[in-house]
């Protein structure tokens, strides 16, 4: 009995030390340090009347907690852009996990009376009332990407163009098909989460534009913006279509999985267009060694522009290249097409 006891103790000791050893090894493995820090995108503000320092302004900023590489880039860009101005002080508040938490955070921000507030809301509809409240209190609001339904709730709205992404992708594919002389191309589409409005807008833009060119989508699958769902849907889609001429994948993040499935199936006969404009995708386009030939942007650089425009609004200045004395009320970014030719210019904008 005593022998068995000591045996057990020894076994436990061995197991314990093995566990501690493995733990020590593994904790060392969580480091991701080699990854280059997200290069922030700051607008070129060397020349032009807008660059000259003006009245000192305090800009409040709030964006949701980083749940996606894209949001992380939004916050980084806003901070970096603010740092380029000597006359701007940026006050960021954590937006928390949901719209209610963000509303509370914004209320404290508003109480500090900043000159202007830039906000990427969790949900435009839910935070509409905050926009109204701030505007009434005399603090202009810049809405970033997720629109407030009420026009009185914002001074400036700047957002990306989901419909335009579909248009850009379809135009690129149509041009490529015409250049290759493919008259009746087989076009496939891998969408993101289908229940989201942005996915529906992207698909609508894609379908509308393809129809103008007399083309249509043969097969469509919806993934979930995750790499493994991208791989799964692509693998099955490739089985459904033994020959494809062009493929549009809505999101470059899930595109990592889509490209993996294409490589595993050894398929090379078609061209692929991505979406959003991640750094990995732009690098792949530049290297030109995969089927990925282009991506249509939905760039987080809009955060940098939002900070620049917020500064001008707070200083009461207009955009120096425009005739108007004030900043316009709405700006919708064009979705741009990144190809091998212009990839180097867009690489700094990749996230």
């Amino acid at each position: 009995m005593a022998h068995a006891g000591s045996d057990l103790t020894r076994r436990r000791l061995l197991l314990g030390s093995a566990a501690v050893g493995a733990g020590a090894l593994l904790t060392a493995c969580t480091s991701n340090e080699k990854e280059t820090p997200n290069t922030a995108q700051t607008g070129a503000n060397q020349a032009g009347a807008n660059a000259s320092p003006g009245k000192r302004v305090v800009i409040g900023f709030s964006a949701p907690a980083q749940d996606h590489g894209w949001i992380a880039a939004i916050t980084n860009n806003a901070k970096a852009q603010a740092a380029t101005y000597s006359d701007v002080e940026l006050k960021t508040v954590e937006a928390g996990a949901d719209a209610a938490a963000q509303r509370a955070a914004l209320a404290t921000l508003l109480a500090q009376k900043p000159d202007i507030i830039v906000v990427l809301p969790h949900d435009g509809k839910e935070l509409n009332s905050f926009g109204l409240e701030a505007m009434q209190a005399g603090v202009p609001v810049v809405n970033l990407d997720r629109a407030f339904p009420d026009a009185l709730a914002y001074r400036l709205q700047i957002k990306g163009d989901n419909y335009g992404m579909g248009v850009a992708a379809a135009n690129f594919i149509a041009a490529q098909m015409k250049a290759k002389g493919v008259s009746n191309p087989i076009i496939a589409e891998i969408a993101g989460i289908d229940s989201l409005e942005l996915t529906q807008e992207r698909t609508k833009g894609f379908n509308d534009t393809l129809a103008q060119h007399g083309m249509r989508v043969a097969n469509r699958r919806a993934a979930e913006f995750t790499i493994d769902s991208g791989q799964r849907e692509a693998a099955n889609l490739l089985q459904a279509l033994p020959k494809i001429d062009a493929l549009w994948n809505h999101d470059d993040d899930q595109g990592v999985g889509v490209l993996a499935a294409i490589n595993q199936a050894n398929r090379k006969e078609f061209i692929m267009v991505g979406g959003a404009g991640s750094k990995a995708a732009i690098e792949a386009i530049q290297a030109d060694n995969t089927v990925l030939k282009a991506t249509v942007t939905y760039s987080p650089s809009m955060a940098s522009s939002a900070i620049s425009l917020a500064r001008l609004i707070a200083q009461g200045r207009g955009m120096s290249d425009l005739a108007e004395l004030q900043v316009p009320k709405e700006i919708i970014l064009a979705s741009e097409t990144v190809t091998k030719e212009n990839a180097s210019a867009y690489l700094p904008l990749g996230f």
Binding site: G69, D228, Q231, N236, L237, N263, Q264
Partner: protein, 363 residues
């Protein structure tokens, strides 16, 4: 009479392989016998698979008439089923042992992310595999200890782990997609051995090991005993708590293997990967005939369950039907499978034995 027959059948089920026809004392034909029930269940799933194949052949004759394509497609279905299949084996053990593991998807994400960090990738394929397996095993152990010794309800403990493990994965990856640059790991998803994809071989090995472990070892018999009646198992001298810990550790280990497979397929890992895999794994185990309350289940049935889901996804993709309809069909199949198993087989065997009794009493 009937109760005694049921009990004997139950005992046979405990000691007999689901495939092997019952031997020993003379009895009724295996089809009517309780011991044959898992086999009948699995046959039912084979019929479903065959029907799905038939539907594919009817709706897309141009594709299915090409033999090479059909083989290719079967391998695609098997490859898509491979990672979730391995995870389901672990979940099946936990469920047979009377527990539930809701954290498998999160463990896969954590193990995948941990094994694809820049620091881990420097150690090469061996380091990545080691990390994934140890992380999976470690998280499973934590689950098991919380449940067995902390007396947490499995549902709550693994639900908490679901949230926490994904949180840690997001923390480590900084919400970014981590691309695997290791060609050995990525090759798992594209290499063949003797014409069979490596992913499929891993799945086969894990399923075979799971089958042996459940049906041919004391560990497996203890699992059934603990799940069937933990108090009786304890009184019979089984260390129920330790066994529970081992079951969750096994599930975690399967998640570690699944993480490597999934990372190889997607050539990357991220905190959001393997989303809702816990539900897919549980559903597959259930339609494979595993009792959610524990004490009964088969590995082969769980594998068929996974294959049914994977085949449906494939069938819908090939016919270009929407994901919404596909999910509704999946839900319908889960309900139908459980209904068929409960109503049809149970009542059929009861009906048959009752008829026999009546026939006997009349004669």
């Amino acid at each position: 009479m009937e109760a005694a027959g049921g009990q004997a059948g139950r005992q046979v089920e405990l000691t007999q392989a689901p495939e092997a026809p019952p031997s020993g004392p003379p009895r009724r034909s295996w089809w009517r016998d309780e011991a044959g029930e898992p086999v009948r269940r699995n046959l039912g799933l084979v019929v479903v698979l065959a029907a799905l194949f038939g539907i594919g052949a009817v709706t897309k004759p141009d594709l299915y008439s090409d033999g090479g394509w059909v083989v290719d497609n079967i391998f695609t279905i098997l490859k898509q089923a491979s990672a979730i299949g391995v995870i389901t084996v672990g979940v099946t053990f936990v469920i047979i042992g009377g527990g539930i593991d809701l954290s498998v998807g999160a463990i896969v994400a954590l193990a995948g992310v941990w094994s694809t960090t820049v620091a881990t990738q420097e150690y090469g394929a061996g380091g990545m595999i080691f990390t994934a397996l140890v992380v999976g095993l470690g998280v499973g152990l934590v689950n098991g200890v919380l449940i067995a010794y902390g007396r947490l309800v499995p549902f709550i403990a693994t639900l908490a782990m679901l949230v926490a493990a994904r949180g840690l994965a997001a923390q480590i990856s900084n919400k970014q997609t981590q691309v695997s640059t290791n060609s050995v790991i990525n090759g798992i998803a594209s290499r063949d051995v003797l014409g069979i994809p490596e992913l499929v071989i891993i799945l086969a090995v894990v399923v075979a090991a799971g089958w042996v472990l459940l049906n041919r070892t004391t560990f497996g018999r203890r699992t059934v005993a603990v799940g069937g009646n933990p108090e009786a198992a304890r009184l019979a001298g089984i260390n129920v708590r330790l066994h529970t810990v081992l079951l969750y550790a096994l599930s975690g280990l399967c998640c570690g293997i699944g993480a490597i497979m999934l990372t190889a397929q997607a050539t990357s890992a991220q905190a959001a990967m393997a989303n809702l895999y816990e539900l897919d794994a549980i559903a597959a185990a259930i339609i494979g005939g595993t009792l959610l309350s524990g004490g009964r289940g088969t590995i082969i049935g769980a594998l068929f369950g996974v294959l049914v889901f994977s085949t449906i996804t494939n069938l819908f993709a090939i016919n270009n039907l929407s994901t919404e309809v596909q999910n509704m069909v999946k839900g319908g199949i889960i309900v139908a499978a459980v209904l068929v198993q409960q109503v049809q087989f149970k009542s059929m065997s009861q009906f048959l034995s009752r008829n026999q009794i009546i026939a006997r009493s009349k004669s």
